[in-house]
């Protein structure tokens, strides 16, 4: 019964959103609201903010990390089903996945050698 397994998820999402909404609603009844320009400035330790914060210029390191994550995360996806059945497929199955892992490690080693994992420049 897949439905019975995943229906609670739906309930939970609905429940938590409901609770959060309710809390926000209650809070909005209780809290004061008194915005003014200085208060609405972004927090920069009292300095006047200059320029756009979300301008889109970030260290390339972040992109590299994101790309590495995408690659490795997807590899995990292959490992899970394999792990479940490993005892059935035996050594042959292990060898096949070992090759896969080996390629993964080569890629990882390459990234390491290439300095993709170094945060300091």
């Amino acid at each position: 019964m897949t439905a019975m397994e995943f229906l609670p998820v739906l309930f939970m999402v609905a429940g938590i959103v409901l609770v959060a909404g309710a809390t926000l609603f209650v809070s909005s009844l209780l809290r004061p609201s008194n915005p003014y320009a200085a208060k609405n400035m972004p927090y920069e330790c009292g300095m006047d903010p200059a320029g756009e914060a979300a301008g889109g210029r970030f260290r390339v390191q972040f992109f590299i990390l994101a790309i590495l994550l995408v690659v490795f995360d997807v590899e995990t996806m292959f490992l899970f089903p394999w792990a479940v059945v490993l005892k059935d497929i035996g050594l042959v199955g292990y060898v096949e996945m070992f090759v896969f892992m080996l390629l993964l490690i080569v890629g990882f080693a390459y990234a390491w050698l290439k300095g993709a994992l170094e945060w300091e420049e």
Binding site: G56, V60, F63, A66, I67, V70, V71, D73, V74, E75, M77, F78, P81
Partner: protein, 100 residues
């Protein structure tokens, strides 16, 4: 049990949205997202058919599609980073230099 054609219809709808997004949107990131939609419609199809035939191939195919798409997006993002360093824009039209 949800009938098969519901899944297929969902797949078609996603495919059309994805294709329309790729063709019509001008922001490269949005185009990439539309691509994901396109490929996910394929995954839905595969899984639905796999279930229909009680065959695991569909799921395997879907997993491969996900993995390869990830690689594809990784490459696309890498190229995009290189591009944006040369010219900071994400608009498709601004990117185009070569014509003819």
């Amino acid at each position: 049990m949800v009938p098969l054609w519901w899944y297929i219809s969902l797949g078609v709808v996603l495919f059309v949205i994805g294709a329309a997004g790729v063709l019509l949107r001008r922001n490269i990131l949005v185009v990439l997202m539309s691509l994901e939609l396109l490929l996910n419609s394929v995954n839905i199809n595969f899984i639905a058919f796999g279930r229909h035939y009680d065959d695991f191939r569909g799921q395997i195919f879907a997993i491969f599609v996900i993995a390869i798409t990830a690689a594809e997006v990784a490459v696309a993002l890498g190229i995009l980073v290189a591009l944006v360093r040369n010219k900071p824009t994400l608009k498709v039209d601004d990117v185009t230099m070569m014509k003819g």
